[in-house]
Amino acid sequence: MPHLAVERWARSSDFGPDDPIVLTVEGTHGLLIHAVTKAAAERGARAGARLTDARALDPSLVAVPADPQGDAALVQRLARWAGRWSPLVEMDGEDGLRLDVTGVAHLFGDEWDLAADVQTRFAVAGLSTRVAIAPTAAAAWALAHYGHASALVCTKDTGAKLADLPVAALRLPPEANRTLERLGLKTIGLLAGIERRSLARRFREVDNPVDALDRALGRKPEPLTAVPAERPPRAALKLEEPATHPEAPVQALDRLIPDLVRQLQQRHLGVRRLALIGFRVDGSTAIASVATAIPSREPKHLQRLLADKAAALDPGFGFDAFALQADWAEGLASAQESLVGDPSGEQEVARLVDRLSVQLGPEKVRRPQPLESHLPERASGWANAVSSLRGAKATKQSSGGDLDCFPRIKSGVAMTGARPQRLLDRPEAIAVVYATPEGVPRRFVWRRAVHDIARVEGPERIAPEWWRQPSTARLRDYYRVEDQAGRRYWIYREGLIGDGRGGLPEWYMHGLFG
């Protein structure tokens, strides 16, 4: 995809196709041109040149910042999409994809049809491509980048096809290219004619043109870098006939779990995320998935987690196969907790968290995760228990094993004032009688009831976090107050009179003391 950056940019801009646009990146000595449109290229702009040099040639060039990260993300998406042609896809450089199409071409007709299909589909996506199919990866790269046509297929006689290409097509480092050109070896054909020994002496091991040539011609293997991922533990069950009974998934689950647990035992793994996939006869699937707080391969626990969700799977026209797959597994060494076999307290709690999270939703079952902040509502963060239980344990152990709820607040933020036991999610506005401008509150009205303040402590002043909040955020003066009945509250006045950030300060109810 030689024009990837420009074409991606053009899809989301309102400039016409004939405008001279250059995309720029920050270089060491000013802006460098990253990519150019056709119009800009005609006016002398070249990728890699300095923007100032190009402007000297034509001052009417329009410079736009490039987005290399966005381009890389697009290439990654395209690589996944290119799985439609071949199972083995690799990102090659910034703007290339390499597909292993061995034994694939006949599915699309022949190699030419395959190349045409690739070009058409990329063109539909708005991207121009140069496609080359060759017996070796290096030869395909050379033909795609330096070939005379945008689609080339070379099934045999690679050497002859490559002979006319410049030596740069061998993908050597620039210094090696320069050396070769100084020697007068401008094309691959010329290079191939030289005696190997005299050539090999002049180059280092890594950028040896003889090696590169060997790779292109298939005399030397080029190792494949795309390694297929290890398959997740998976158990499958095929049914003789489609089943529509709602009990079917649960029964399938009962049969699949022992199989999966055996695999997990062999590989010393424990499940963190587990999915039961039901394959319907009409080619669709239904998935029920659960997560666990600590890795587990306890059959009863897994069965209990999934049973309810499995029973709720919609069979449609009937399931004819089931698969139970551990989407995420972590190492779990075989261990015996105690002689009698009772699970430890930690395991029990983790299982409780799993069950609660499955039933109520993972975001409803949480653990405190404190943050270093003076703002009360920020200081008490919450994290989903199902994903943080393990981390909390690890932190606890590393901090000496004490039952510290706030492992991260040790030396940083000192907890100065008293904090309430309950905090309203959203501070509620209250009407307060107080001695202006900064006197203590005497009486307040909260939710239509009057509270006469008997005792008060404060203020504890908490300034806004200017690095996060807008400049109009006002400081808060917190007061701990006790009304006549002895109920104690945490109220605050937001702002000061004349602080230039709004009118009269407002009062809010924020917390309740126990």
Binding site: R351, V353, W382, R422, F513
Partner: protein, 236 residues
């Protein structure tokens, strides 16, 4: 400076001197240690907050909480909206698992699940009002589950009425005027509660004004007397 202040903060500052008006003859004097009427084993206790806007009961529960194991705290959504979400920085150091339940049914289910897990130090569940699902059977189930797994369970009722229940202990807790603050007479001091045990198995009901200090509860001047601060001021 600090030493001088800490002298004032001595043990005596907690107690008032006259027995509460109307107290039965022979009743323990304020300042005495007060043994928490406790059932023989971990069980279900029901606790009625005097008002949804009174969170005094939190301190009463936290004073009893064991902090060796995680605590499961279930809050119904309405309870969070009306009287706030629990705030870990104010709870002291404890391992905590917080559950936000959609309604009373979900809250009761989560509590019962928690009671089946012996790795917890306790289960606290807050319900709002008088939900339909909270009948005698539901509370009885909780009580049986708590006794079977030896996990104490507190069912907290916010804005509810004391209807039929299987709870072994039933409390009504209100905040009382706090005991004198040794450092600042105008500031609130340590919490005090007006605790009423109106139904209990194996213990006589009663009504006390108590405060918690150094791992035990103590009696303070009777609620409503409000004499504590004044006595302190007179002494000072």
């Amino acid at each position: 400076m600090a030493e001088g202040l800490s002298l004032v903060a001595g043990d005596e500052s907690r107690a008032a001197y006259s027995p509460a008006p109307g107290a039965a003859p022979g009743a323990p004097l304020p300042g005495a240690r007060w043994p928490l009427p406790a059932p023989p084993g971990p069980t279900l206790s029901e606790l009625f907050a005097a008002s949804p806007r009174d969170a005094g009961w939190v301190g009463f529960l936290l004073a009893q909480a064991k902090r060796s194991k995680p605590l499961l705290w279930v809050q119904e959504r309405m309870a969070i909206l009306e009287s706030g979400r629990i705030y870990p920085p104010g709870l002291g150091s404890m391992e905590l698992i917080h559950v936000e339940a959609r309604d009373a049914r979900a809250a009761l289910w989560a509590m019962e699940e928690g009671l089946r897990c012996s790795g917890l130090s306790g289960v606290i569940g807050e319900l709002w009002g008088d939900p339909q699902v909270l009948d005698f059977t539901a509370t009885r189930r909780l009580a049986v589950a708590a006794e079977r797994s030896h996990v104490p369970c507190w069912l907290v009722r916010l804005g509810g009425t004391a209807n039929l229940s299987g709870a072994r202990m039933r409390w009504r807790i209100a905040s009382g005027p706090s005991i004198a603050n040794p450092f600042d007479t105008r500031a609130p001091g340590a919490s005090a509660w007006d605790a009423e045990l109106f139904r209990a198995r194996g213990a006589p009901p009663g009504h006390w004004a108590i405060a918690h200090e150094a791992d035990s509860f103590h009696l303070v001047a009777a609620p409503g007397g409000g004499a504590l601060g004044e006595v302190e001021r007179l002494r000072a």
